[in-house]
């Protein structure tokens, strides 16, 4: 048997996962949500309803082939209008990799994502530090915790002007930072950020690939993302 860790809590929490054309990690993300103990609700980019989910994940992949700019075309899909409205009203939204790129393109998070400074796709097991445990998606981590999460992308270089970067730092909105190796030239080693309210989080590495001991990176350091949101919603 290869069952993952026992779910943190069985709950009625419903977490939506949006599939855009070219999304790749949508099914894995649904699996991670189920392993964490919540119900995963598939959402389709052309739909106009969020089906009353309690939270939304924008998964990784190459939506629209990453043509034009990563996330640039998906950001205009019909469902994204609902996600944007929801996020502004406090709906928890997590953007992983391509999802993070969609969030910056939609201006739900500041800054932008550019091609890796070494110009190659990179796939590696990446060490990170959790800098902010107050967001909707990070409550199950300990502040300063060092974790390993797989990273795989072509356009993972986070950039913003220095005023924005200073603001992010000052407000504690850098949620994750790369440790040991900066894999893509992200400014200030930023791996993930949150919005001011803490309900919208974006990060480049893929926690959904670190939820079972046997597959992916062989670690379960990513599971707390999904248990965090369940606890948050259950206690809300």
């Amino acid at each position: 048997m290869t069952a993952g860790p026992t779910p943190a809590a069985r709950s009625n929490t419903r977490v939506g996962v949006v599939t855009f054309p070219g999304s790749l990690d949508d099914r894995d993300t649904q699996r991670a949500i189920r392993l964490a103990g919540a119900e995963a609700v598939p959402l389709w980019h052309k739909d106009k309803s969020l089906q009353q989910v309690d939270a939304v994940v924008l998964p990784g992949g190459f939506s629209y082939g990453d043509y034009l700019r990563a996330g640039a075309i998906s950001r205009f899909s019909p469902l994204m209008e609902k996600v944007i409205d929801g996020a502004r009203a406090g709906l928890p939204v997590l953007g992983i990799c391509n999802g993070f790129q969609v969030l910056t393109e939609a201006h739900l998070l500041p800054g932008a994502m550019l091609g890796n400074d070494h110009l190659h796709f990179i796939c590696r097991d990446q060490k990170l530090r959790v800098e902010n445990t107050a967001t909707a998606w990070t409550g199950d981590y300990v502040a300063g915790q060092e974790i390993h999460i797989p990273l795989k992308n072509m356009d993972g270089r986070y950039v913003a002007d220095s005023r924005t970067l200073d603001m992010l730092e000052a407000e504690g909105r850098v949620a994750f930072r790369y440790l040991d190796v900066n894999p893509n030239g992200s400014l200030r080693d930023i791996a993930g950020i949150t919005n001011e309210a803490g309900n919208v989080v974006g990060l480049m590495p893929h926690p959904e690939h670190a939820v079972e001991p046997l597959v992916g990176s062989g670690r379960t350091d990513g599971l707390p993302f999904f248990t965090s949101i369940i606890k948050k919603l259950v206690s809300a």
């Binding site: 034009l68 640039a72 932008a112 550019l114 890796n116 400074d117 950039v159 913003a160 002007d161 030239g185």
Partner: protein
């Protein structure tokens, strides 16, 4: 039918590793005397109908909201001669 060209370049303060990679390769290829290289995108749009001010304004909007990400990029719009 006319062609409108939208050029999109990274803002000067943003690191452009592609341009740098080109520049670094130049000496190896025997090219001297090029002090900087930046690489951007060029979009050629074939526009049905006349490219009047209204059309240009719309293309400008398209560039601003879609073809370029103005957080990191600048753009220019220009009309090319009829083909």
């Amino acid at each position: 039918m006319a062609r409108v060209v939208v050029d999109v370049m990274l803002k000067p303060e943003i690191l452009d590793p592609q341009g740098q990679a080109v520049q670094r390769a130049l000496p190896r290829l025997g090219f001297e005397g090029i002090s900087d290289v930046r690489q951007g995108k060029r979009f050629e749009l074939e526009v049905d109908g006349p490219v009047d001010d209204a059309a240009l304004a719309r293309i400008h909007e398209l560039a601003e909201t879609f073809l370029a990400n103005t957080v990191i990029e600048n753009f220019t719009v220009k009309v090319e001669e009829e083909k």
